[in-house]
């Protein structure tokens, strides 16, 4: 079986919407740690998880911590492979341009956005993972 000297491909799958439950917020904390341990991390937003990347979220009237601002800096935390399911967006009436940026390209300074993929493309990525963490 696998030796831990290989870089592990680890995928975090987010399928739940933010704020109504803590799953998205605590999944984010896991993403940051996995990236810090030099694993090859991908994050995939499916189903209601796509709501987590919507621009313009403001939790001030809820009184809860605006954790989602961390999504705008994922690239700074070495999390670049961020994917969103195309059908999930469509089914929820969300346009790709409504998605938050996840950081800036370190060379060009251009904003980086999550990649929108089809089911099949996401499935292919899942095949490459050593571990898939669902929240």
């Amino acid at each position: 079986m696998n030796e831990s000297s290989e870089v592990r491909n680890v995928m975090v799958v987010v399928r739940k919407a933010p704020h109504g439950t803590i799953y998205v917020q605590e999944a984010l904390e896991v993403m940051l740690i996995v990236a810090a341990y030099s694993m090859n991390i991908s994050v995939v937003f499916l189903d209601d998880g796509v709501y987590a990347l919507k621009k313009g979220q403001d939790t001030s009237e809820l009184g809860s911590k605006p954790f989602m601002s961390a999504f705008r800096a994922l690239v700074d935390w070495e999390i670049e492979h961020v994917y969103v399911d195309r059908d999930a967006l469509k089914n929820r009436g969300i346009n790709e341009n409504e998605l938050t940026e996840i950081g800036e390209d370190e060379n060009t300074g251009e904003p980086v956005h999550p990649q929108v993929l089809s089911h099949k493309e996401i499935y292919k990525l899942m095949q490459e993972q050593h571990t898939i963490l669902s929240f």
Partner: protein, 118 residues
């Protein structure tokens, strides 16, 4: 196989803790190694020492404590724990509180990681 198990939900309310425990027992019976158990989200509620279920029902924190006694690393996430008021002094014995880095280590050291949640 070296297996790590992640439990994301609290005891009794969700079946996750039972499914995880039963799976671990089956894996041990088959001679596999449990690299560790990591409690996250409400899973951190699984190992408090003041749990008092009815006499004729399973005692969930005691079960985890007994697995811990066998040498299995039972870990409660400190961030998720503190947020929910789960601190050292209310933990049952043979479990420990540690950071998310421990989950990362479990992933690095295991052949398989399985998540039980809702």
């Amino acid at each position: 196989m070296k297996l790590s198990v992640v439990v994301l939900e609290g005891p009794y309310t969700h079946e996750a803790s039972d499914s995880a425990y039963n799976l671990i027992q089956a894996a041990l019976k088959k001679g596999h190694e449990i690299n560790g158990v990591f409690f996250y989200h409400d899973g951190v509620y699984n190992v408090t020492k003041f749990m008092e279920p009815p006499q004729d029902d399973r005692h969930i924190s005691r079960r985890w404590m007994e697995l811990g006694e066998k040498g299995i690393d039972i870990v409660v996430c400190i961030a998720a724990g503190l947020r929910r008021g789960i601190v050292d002094k209310i933990q049952t014995s043979n479990v420990r509180i540690s950071g998310l880095g421990q989950l990362a280590k479990m992933i690095l050291e295991s052949d398989r990681v399985i998540v039980f949640g809702d």
